[in-house]
Symmetry: C2
Subunit: 296 residues, 2 copies
């Protein structure tokens, strides 16, 4: 990985973790357990890709980090809630996530459901707080686009399609739509959020959102490839689950070489969306290359 | 029940159901199942008490019904999501709700989790839409107070405390706080929302919120009494569950007569909060009496 990108990812992770630490304290009251459960998953590590994308996009428009880190915390809360619920026994039934027990294994199923349920409103609360932006129109745009990306027309809808994948054969268009909803919507929001905070032009905002969608799909194809090629130790979670479940993936539909070529094409397209930002978008170009070349 | 109140409740239910019907259509795409699951629980009946409270509070300030019905739909979506998740096997493990199979019995657990997950962002989307109020400050106030009432500091926190009630003995203050968070917060929001939409004074808004909190606690005590006295057929769900689980309730702590007296006192207090609205608050006074005298 490019050294400057490695440094920027590290800094974004540290910044968003400090923000989340302040935003989700543990009270001394009887409901403390749900806060502990929220924090357990919020601080379980991870690449913090989405927070990085929010802040790197915001940097293009000189958005103060004190503001963009709040949008970064919000998207990481939504992402974390989705992981907690996806890992539940009734969903993917996973015991490990990033090498640690999943939330419901560490706490219990009921607490895991509640921790996810509470992360969702907390994310919206963070976005709507005046500290995120003094301009109400900006705050509403951030919250409105996030709930649309997270709901039945976005991430949850994608997860619904995914759940039916074990019994339904999808074609390439259907798999692409599934992944655009399940993974792409939140990644695209991360890029768009920086533009919203930066009072970007419509063209700039659309370019960043399109970059995020291409990147999200490339990320997912890379995930499918890692699911086959990487070990559970490298990934910190069970692998080869899709293949074992008989689900169609980009690889079953395109072959390994075809999937690799498609991911490279998507990254090429994603990077091309950034032309209008010139040299300033260096880190966003680098992270796109990293996404398909990572080993975990 | 007072005939005028019966008519008003019926109209509020019809209005909010029409609004929800328009707000949650079923698409022809692969994720249709999650929309069907959301609608199954949204249209499973119920008293629609919270929507009524939003609209009756809004009426005090001549809020157009086309606006207050949207806030009413939002709170009913949050309430419905909480019922779907509370009924899950890992929570209360209920098979019946309002005399019909619970969501996870009708669909499956994974779909029920997702339906609840999707109702939450949909509620926020409805509130933040300009159709709810042209004034952005009003929309932000509605959404912000709702996410605070629904999250770990409100409803979810109350549910977390409730989950621990089977193994922890709570005293009366703790049970009251639990119920204020779990049930009271959403009922208080319903009353406050009408005031927010109505550009009410601080005193008016505080009075309606306090009325809602008193009403919510009275409602919960009445529920505890019905849990003992009513049959499963009358309630449309399993009864005597708290007593069977060895949980403290208002009745185990105060006795049946003590609980009745406390509920009556709370209704008296709730009604007194409405003094500043004079005769206009007739329906809100009536519904408070109804809440502790209902048979289901």
């Amino acid at each position: 990985m490019n050294a400057e990108l490695a440094e920027a990812l590290k800094r974004a992770a540290a910044d968003v973790e400090a923000a989340m630490d302040a935003l989700v304290p543990v009270p001394e009251t009887l409901e403390a357990r749900v806060h502990e459960s929220m924090r357990y998953s919020l601080f379980a590590g991870g690449k913090r890709l989405r927070p990085f994308l929010v802040m790197a996009s915001g940097d293009l428009f000189h958005v103060p980090r004190a503001q963009s880190v709040r949008a970064a915390a919000a998207i990481e809360m939504i992402h974390t809630y989705s992981l907690i619920h996806d890992d539940l026994p009734c969903m993917d039934d996973d015991d490990l996530r990033r090498g640690k027990p999943t939330n419901h294994r560490q706490f219990d199923e009921a607490t895991a459901v509640l921790a996810g349920d509470a992360l969702q409103p907390k994310a919206i609360e963070v976005l709507l707080d005046p500290a995120t932006d003094a301009d109400r129109e900006i705050r509403i745009a951030l919250a409105m686009t996030l709930v649309q990306a997270a709901g039945a027309e976005g991430m949850v809808g994608g997860q619904m399609i995914d759940l039916q994948a074990e019994t339904t054969s999808y074609d390439l268009d259907q798999i692409s739509r599934l992944q655009n909803m399940k993974t792409g919507a939140l990644i695209a929001w991360s890029c768009e959020a920086g533009a919203i905070l930066g009072h970007a032009t419509g063209a700039e905002r659309a370019a960043l959102k399109a970059y995020g969608l291409d990147l999200g799909l490339a990320f997912q194809i890379a995930d499918d490839i890692l699911d086959i090629e990487a070990s559970p130790e490298e990934m910190g979670k069970a692998t080869a689950k899709d293949a074992d479940a008989g689900k169609e993936t980009f690889i079953t539909l395109m072959g390994l070489d075809g999937a690799r070529a498609r991911a490279a094409e998507l990254v090429h397209n994603a990077v091309a969306r950034l032309d209008l930002f010139g040299e300033r978008a260096f880190l966003l170009r680098e992270v796109a290359e990293y996404v398909i070349n990572r080993r975990s």
